[in-house]
């Protein structure tokens, strides 16, 4: 068995108050560990404030982790200096949520697509253009998009441009951060299909971030469920949807409105709000909203442990399955 392609160990990120924001330390991520094998797609799911984007950005060191290790192919990128990190980043790309905010209105699509190649000093002008045009073709946009501006495209087309930008550098690993959340329903499935197709064709390894469990099911091999900066459950996609183990995963699945108006299944509505990460509950962070919490849940942070059918769950209760 090979070492995993990406390995995250005990990743913790605390945002300390700055000169202008007095107040407590925000514990965005606490002790996050997971692996991604080469060619696998891992989904990262949770509500706002759960730490999804903080993980995504930490993996590319767009923000500095407070502690912990992040290894790509055996190289711990948290210890790299600027030069080697820049070379490493060539292999790692990011697709952003908002296709309007993430494309410069003052650059042509060609400039947007070749900027990364420029920075990495890859190829000459002609070769860069060829690579960008190849990327446009891969995302099913016309070649004449090269000389146009982002405002000439619809949301779905812009997201294709964002994907093209990510693949021009021929990366090995992509973080796709809510890539379809801003898109219309009829366009979402197009983009998910495109990402899946590219992932298979280019053998990409991917972290797919979404707040919507229904969206990640198709594209992900494994799903990680996050709550308030901690991992609640990890499972192969099929198993997670068929037999969710953690009470939070169950609540999240049950909250998704069903399309069938005749089947109003007994929906379980969680009470209250997600607590502040500046002041997370002691013990299990989910216990304040958990329908099956016990007194003991306040005492210890439940470790992530394997259950019988290949899940990992951070819950002390075994009697609720």
């Amino acid at each position: 068995m090979n070492a995993p392609f990406l390995s995250v160990r005990n990743l913790t990120k605390h945002f300390a108050p700055t000169a202008f924001s007095r107040g407590p330390v925000v514990r965005a991520l606490q002790d996050i560990s997971f692996d991604i094998a080469r060619g696998q797609v891992v989904g990262l799911v949770g509500e706002s404030g759960s730490g999804k984007t903080t993980i995504g950005r930490s993996l590319l060191r767009l923000i500095e982790p407070t502690s912990g290790e992040i290894s790509f192919d055996g190289i711990d990128i948290t210890k790299l200096s600027a030069g080697p990190l820049a070379r490493q980043r060539r292999k790692m790309q990011y697709i952003f949520q908002d296709p309007f905010a993430s494309l410069s209105p003052r650059m042509t699509i060609g400039q947007i697509l070749t900027e990364g190649l420029d920075i990495q000093s890859i190829g000459n002008r002609r070769e860069r253009r060829a690579r960008a045009e190849k990327a446009l073709a891969a995302v099913e946009l016309p070649v004449d998009a090269y000389d146009r501006y982002a405002h000439e495209f619809s949301g779905g087309q812009r997201q294709r441009i964002g994907i093209a930008r990510a693949i021009t550098l021929e990366p090995e690993f992509i973080v796709a951060d809510e890539p379809v959340s801003a898109l219309d329903v009829s366009i979402q499935a197009q983009i998910v299909n495109l990402l899946r197709d590219l992932q298979v064709r280019l053998g990409l390894t991917m972290l797919f971030i979404s707040h919507d469990l229904a969206v990640v099911e198709y594209i992900c091999d494994t799903v990680i469920v996050l709550y308030l900066g901690r991992i609640m459950e990890v499972a192969p996609a099929a198993a997670l949807y068929a037999r969710p183990q953690h009470p939070y995963t169950r609540a999240l699945l049950s909250a998704i409105p069903s399309l069938d108006p005749l089947v109003k299944q007994g929906r379980q509505v969680l009470k209250g709000d997600i607590p502040s990460p500046a002041n997370p509950p002691t013990g299990c962070v989910f216990r304040t909203r958990c329908p099956v919490a016990l007194d003991a849940c306040a005492g210890i942070v439940p470790p992530l442990r394997a259950t019988s059918d290949g899940h990992l769950k951070a819950c002390i209760r075994d009697d609720i399955a």
Partner: protein
């Protein structure tokens, strides 16, 4: 039988863009009875929000106006008022009074420099003429009704001190403060997490059962429609393309766009088998058309697998597929 709370007929709302009048909504008929929830569903640019803004007279004044049609509202006192062509002063007496409004982003619809309590009390003072003290007491009572714990303290807090879900509860309290006959909820749960969305949907259903108001629920989320609405109108490129009871439309859509939308919604547990079979997710080909460049005939024809030449000749009328379900598709029988 009572007159409907809201009755829209032949609505046409236009925007003047680059010297041209572009219809954002046209040929729109819609009624909402008391105690009834009607969902207006569609993608961006379909005209669903323009419809709700037309009702409350909040189309952007410089560029947008209602070109044709009537919007009649039954008010609290039972009288029916035509809202189109109403002068701004009279319209102000309807808005926030007989019509309550809840918008997508609770942070932008609340004023950051006033307390929650002051903001809920304001319409009560203005529209119902109550004293500061009585309006403030009403505000606290309303906060309790929308499920905000410790309402006394919350009323004295500012919007930034509340979570997103709490803020949306507060805007609902504000919308209901004058006991409206119609509540317009424009994407009220879109900015919220699913677990909070579930809470807000339950709350709206509960409040409607108590108060019997009509609700116009604008959303792009079909799951939410199935959850909350009695009837649904599906909009595409400014027109209603299908309408009817949710139970009929969602069980047997009679417009290819509705059917395509429903197929595009990811369903839990289904994707795994599609992936195993190597099948892509079902999609609707192409993009939502620009309102300035609508094709002749049916706007959906360029993306429609069932389109025939007749579809491209003229805009199809609404056909009655059943006594309650209507489809703007020439081939509704083939679906």
């Amino acid at each position: 039988m009572d007159a409907p709370i809201l009755s829209i007929s032949g609505l046409r709302a236009v925007f003047r863009i680059a010297g041209r009048d572009i219809a954002a909504v046209q040929d729109l008929d819609l009624t909402i009875g008391s105690g009834e929830t009607v969902a207006l569903v569609g993608e961006s640019g379909s005209g669903k929000s323009v419809t709700s803004l037309s009702i409350i007279g909040l189309l952007p004044k410089k560029i947008g106006h209602i070109a044709e049609g009537s919007i009649a509202l039954r008010r609290r006192d039972g009288t029916v008022t035509e809202l189109t062509g109403l002068d701004p002063e009279s319209l102000r007496k309807v808005r926030g009074n007989d019509i309550g409004m809840v918008f997508q982003e609770p942070m932008t619809s609340l004023n950051p420099v006033y307390t929650i309590g002051e903001q809920i009390a304001e319409p009560i003072r203005i529209h119902l003429g109550k004293s500061h003290r009585n309006a403030a007491a009403d505000a606290v009572r309303l906060l309790a009704q929308v499920g905000i714990p410790d309402p006394d303290r919350r009323a004295r807090q500012y919007p930034h001190e509340l979570s997103g879900g709490m803020r949306q509860r507060a805007t609902i309290a504000m919308a209901l403060s004058c006991n409206p006959t119609l509540l317009i909820a424009d994407e009220p749960t879109t900015a919220l997490d699913v677990t909070i969305q579930a809470q807000i949907l339950d709350l709206l259903a509960e409040l409607q059962a108590q108060r019997g108001m009509g609700i116009l629920f604008v959303t792009h989320n079909l799951g939410v429609v199935a959850e909350i609405a009695d009837r649904v109108a599906v909009m595409y490129a400014g027109r209603i393309v299908e309408s009817g009871p949710v139970s009929e439309v969602f069980t047997r859509p009679r417009h290819p766009y509705t059917a395509g939308l429903m197929r595009s919604v990811p369903r839990l547990g289904q994707a795994t088998s599609l992936k195993a079979a190597g099948t892509p997710l079902p999609t609707i080909a192409g993009n939502v058309p620009s309102l300035a460049l609508l094709p002749k005939g049916c706007s959906f024809a360029p993306r429609c697998a069932m389109a025939v030449d007749a579809c491209r000749a003229a805009v199809p009328p609404l056909f009655a597929a059943t006594s309650t379900q209507h489809s703007r598709c020439l081939r509704w029988k083939d679906l």
